[in-house]
Structure formats: C-alpha cells, structure tokens
Subunit: 370 residues, 2 copies
C-alpha cells in the first residue's frame, strides 16, 4: 500500500536559479529494517539553511504557494558547482509516528511509536528511515523530540572530543544558542569548565540562570578582560565556534595565549608552548576566517562536523550518547522555537527572511501537518 | 681564563625604541658539558629576523657603526609587550671551533673540533654551547655547517610528521627556498610525493633540475590547474607553509578539496570527507591568514615550530635526523648564501634593507671574524 504526501525539494541550476518547492512523493511499503514515519515536527537548523537558501537573493525571489524561485549570486553559485542540476531533499532531522514497518524485529518494534529520526528529508509529510537510526520518544510529543539529534549529539560530541584530548574545560563562542544552552547544562552536569561568549546582556543573564559560571559579553568594553579571566579560571584552551567568518576564533586564541603568557617565567619570541585548539562547526558568517599573528605557533584550528565525528567514535559511544538524550529530552536537551510553520508557510517571504538570519535562540519548527 | 668578544644584543623598550648593537661580552671558562665555540659563520634565517628587526621602521632608523636604533610601529610594539625592556641575544644557529671545553667526556671530545651548534646567540664572536647539542663537522668548513640545524631539521621534521600521520605525499608552498630545495632532495631520496609551489619560472626550473616532479607556478594563469594536477598525481592532502599571511593556505585547501570532490560519487552539502591538513611554520607575511569557506569541514590548520616538534619526537629520532644531516651536509642539506657580512656590516642600512625582505634563495651569512 503506497503512501503519498508533500515533500520539499531544492534544486540549483547551473545558471544560478534556485527552486525550492513542494511535490507529492509516493513511498512504497517499507522493507527489512525500514520504517515509514509520518513526520510531525522538524527544526530548521543552520546546517539545513545552506541547502534551502544558501547565499541566494531572497529579497527579490519569486514567491508562490508552495514554492520560491531565487537567484544565486555568481560567486556563491560557482562555489556550489557540485550540486548543479541535482534535485535534493532537505531537513536533517525531525520526529513523527511510525505508520508502517519492514519485517525486521527492530522495525516491527517501532510500529505505532513516536520516534526522532535523521532522514535527511525531514521537510516532508512522510519519510523513510532506518530503524537503527530512530530514537523512540515514549510519551514525549513529536515537538519535544524534533531536535533530538543534531544539537544534542553535537553538544555531547564537544564534551566527548574534549575528554578524548585530555581537556576538562571548553570555550564556546555562541553561548546562548539552543546548542549553547544544552552545552551549558551538560558541562554543569559533567563537571566540565565552560567559557561562554555571548553578544548581549540578556543572553548573559539567560546563561547565568542556567548555572553558567563564566560568561563573557562581547558587547561590553571590558570583554577581553572578561574572556581572559574566564580562561584563567577554567584553564580552557580548547573551544568550538559555529560562526566561522570573522575574528571570533582569532579572539579566542588571543585570549588563551594571553593567559598562557602570564604563566611564563621566560620570554620566548615564539610565544607560549600552550597548545590552543579551536574547532569551527558551522558557518553562521560565511565570510573568511581571519587569523592574525600574535599567539605563536602553538595552535590548531579544524573544521568539525557531526557525522564524521559519530563515525569516528563508533556505535557504542553513539548509543550511550543517544540514551542520555532520550533520558533527558525535556531537561538537558530541551529546544525552544520562535515560530511554527507548515511546509507551505516555510516557503513564504515572511518566514524565509526571518529564519535565514539565524538569530541566536530564534529557531523555526516545521510542522508538516499544520 | 676568560675570553672576550663582540656579541649582538637586541632590546625593545616599552616606547617602541628598538636598539640592536654590538657589545663586548666576556665568557668564563666552560664547565661540565659546556664548550666555548669561536663562532665563524651564522645564517640569518627568517626566524631570526623577527627579533632583529620585526616590524620596525628600518627605512628611517639611525644607523651608526655596530648599532642601529629604530622605531617599532604602535601595533607591532603592542604585540611585543612581553619582550619590552629585555636585552636579548640573537642568532639561532651557527658553526665554529671549540676552543675550550668543560670536564665532561662529551665536552672534551669536541676540543679543537669544528662544530655546528644552536646557541641562540650565534651573532657573536664566542658562544657557550652544550656539548650534547653540537654536531662535529669533521673536515667540513664552518660555512658548510652554519645552517646544519634549523632548515635541515625542519625539512626532515616535515617528512617525520607526514609519515607519523600516515601520509606519503607533502605540499610545500615555498618550494624554491633553501629549505624547499632540501625538502625536494629529501622527498626524492625517501620516495615521498612532493607538490612544490613557486612564484617564478626560474624557481620552477631550479626545482626541476633538482628532480622535482610536481611544481606549480603561482604566476602562471593556469596555476590552479597545475596545482590540482600535482595534487591529483601525488595524493597530497598534507602540507607546510612558511608564509602565514594571505591566502596561500586557503589556496592549498581549495585545490585539495577540488581533487577530493572529483572522486566523490554522491553530492554532499558539507564537501568531501577528505581530511586536509596544513601547517604554518613561519610568518614571511605577517598579515592575517585568510581562510574562506569552500572546502567543507574536513580540514585542520596548525602552527608548527621546530623545537616543540623535536621535543615531541624524542632523542633517538633527533639523533637519527642529525646523523643524516651530518652525513649529507654538502649534498642533500647544502645551503646557499647571497652575501657574507661581518657583525658590523649586518647592522648597516644596506644589509638590513636587503636581508629583511627575505627573498627566496637570498640568504645572508654572518661571519663574525670577517
């Protein structure tokens, strides 16, 4: 018995025309370990936005019901050459109800249950997912489980990574984001030192209410003093940044070096021997990352992505992390949404112009059935 | 019996006044494992220049015999706050004759021999060095052994590092430098793939004469094609850059990603999973390092310094590397010099204005006894 529902596709043509639209897609019955999920909630994460709107001119796009057509500027289009002509789904993660299941025990066990899943085509009324990647939500609503994967596993991944590298403190450059709030709770629970950078005083207040001990506000005049004091207190020389562009990583390295230099008894022209480590895990700012001299040669900057990380830690660690998410879904790993939109509404100008700004703490949730 | 000779010192005051001058320094007789070396040749490496002239205004400096006084611009001076008021020696490495030795067997064994050494104050007529850090030069002249440490050990270090990380190919962004030429010979001897970037066609010719198989000339219009072809042929996704500022590292990452994307069968919005690794080991350009988006998140950039690297590999590896240098001093590890200057001449405007440009293959050699 085939099942048909609305499904979002995004296509970038070689000439720079970006078309995002809804189409009816028909799914056959699931087989083996597959489950068919009626999707009820899916967040719009920064990692979804690149493929939805990227650098396209959304101000002057043509919007019609269930569709927009926009122009990708020349440079952004040239950088996207590998997706030209491909009709791609979107939506990394979401949650819904399993309405059909393949023959495998794992699939059958999920029949009728609400699950969180990571299908890659979550902006749709139905998705096919592998039972092994689904997290049963028990009594939780789909909305509570919609963001159970990307942010929670990323935040837990930071702590896993830090521990594997012998670190007991972390710096996070966007402390007040949904992910930053989770990280604040995780670090508090696990006794990991955390230095949060925020841009506004209300964000600092929010984190302090969550128990954050070290918050540096970049809009304050004494920001660098706040930051170095927090690094001094925690010993953080290891951090994560979702912004990418600009000088945020540079600022973190400078502050870490400043603290390391304070501890040196002898001058070295090469700076301190303190190893400073930062990871860029997003591109909220698609401008260039600027690294100035001034913190010696004892530093390393890497890109960081969730899926390669999860492959590197293996199934056992991943299962342990997912259990922790499931057991603390509405506390440690709670997400908050600014707006709920249907599939049609997410393609309107009002919605696009708002969610594409990716303002801290203003996440959208797509509810495909309204 | 004390020994007195001319010795260079460099002092940066808090107000930005940089004074570099010669003074007489008296050394007591060496004790224990110490040896007193009559210095006969010392190269001016880029790593020495920072402390000699840094970002100072050398055009308008006051030059007098055995001395110059220059102004450090405000920003460069602020970045050098940790050395304010310190009277520092200069000259990482050099070679000379052991004229007195402490009681230890190692020190006594060097008595009367020519040695290469790394005293940190090589711009002087006499240096005290530890016997364990000296490399006996046998029949080689001091000039042949003057650069036996920094460049050779760095070039060998790149290969050690690459192998430890499972790599069999290296990219080097300044192929025609003294170090680049050594690296070309080492990689040829060791069967390591090498991608050399150069800026001029005569540099490309020079490297090809040394047997370099892959040279990309950044002044050619089809530079990126040359570079990607070389990366495709060698599989290099691991490289070293002494420039630091600008987009050279960015260019290397882009070319590595370009080749990795060619091999992908399925589109990924995150770019390839190919891990791309670059190290910045110098700051020939003290401007900011610019990293643009466009090569996904599978990349890592680190600073790289010789001395921490040597500490990390341990004494056995270091001894093995030094033996290889000693046994191939005038072949694999030969250095070339553009000019020879005395201690007085190295402080004249003509000399300073020339060697501070650090043009590829135009190294100066200081000969303290003329």
């Amino acid at each position: 018995m085939a099942t048909t529902g609305k499904h979002l596709f995004t296509t970038l043509e070689a000439d720079g025309t970006l078309t995002v639209s809804l189409e009816d897609v028909t799914f056959d019955d699931p087989t083996g370990s597959q489950v068919l999920v009626r999707m009820e909630a899916a967040p719009i994460n920064p990692s979804d936005l690149a493929i939805l709107v990227g650098g396209a001119d959304m101000d002057n796009a043509e919007y019609s019901p269930g569709k927009f057509v926009a122009k990708m500027p020349k440079q952004a289009n040239a950088a996207s050459i590998t997706r030209h002509g491909l009709k791609l789904p979107a939506g990394n993660e979401g949650a819904g109800t399993v309405i059909a299941a393949g023959d495998s025990d794992a699939a059958q066990a999920l029949m009728g249950q609400r699950v969180s899943c990571v299908p890659g085509n979550a902006y749709s009324q139905y998705c096919m997912a592998d039972a092994g990647t689904c997290l049963p939500l028990g009594d939780h609503a789909s909305e509570e489980g919609a963001s159970a994967f990307v942010n929670p596993m990323t935040a837990l991944g930071f702590v896993e990574n830090a521990r594997a590298d012998g670190q007991d403190a972390i710096l996070h450059t966007v402390g007040a984001s949904n992910l930053g709030q989770m990280l604040t709770r995780i670090c508090r629970e696990d006794g990991i030192g955390l230095v949060n950078i925020v841009r506004k005083s209300d964000q600092a207040d929010l984190l302090k209410d969550l128990g954050a001990a070290h918050v540096a506000n970049s809009s304050d005049e004494d920001f660098m003093d706040q930051l170095t004091a927090a690094i001094r207190d925690t010993g953080a020389s290891y951090g994560f940044d979702p912004v990418g562009g600009g000088k945020l990583v540079d600022t973190a390295f400078k502050a870490m070096e400043h603290v390391a230099i304070e501890r040196m008894t002898e001058y070295s022209r090469y700076g301190s021997n303190q190893q400073k480590r930062m990871f860029i895990y997003g591109r909220l700012d698609t401008g260039a990352t600027i690294l100035t001299p001034g913190y010696g040669f004892g530093w390393t900057l890497s890109g960081w992505l969730l899926f390669p990380f999860l492959q590197s830690v293996g199934q056992d660690a991943m299962d342990r992390m997912r259990r922790r998410v499931r057991d603390n879904l509405t506390t440690t790993f709670a997400s908050h949404y600014k707006e709920r939109v249907t599939l049609e509404e997410m393609l309107t100008k009002d919605a696009v112009m708002d969610y594409r700004t990716m303002r801290t703490g203003e996440k959208y949730l797509v509810t495909p059935w309204g």
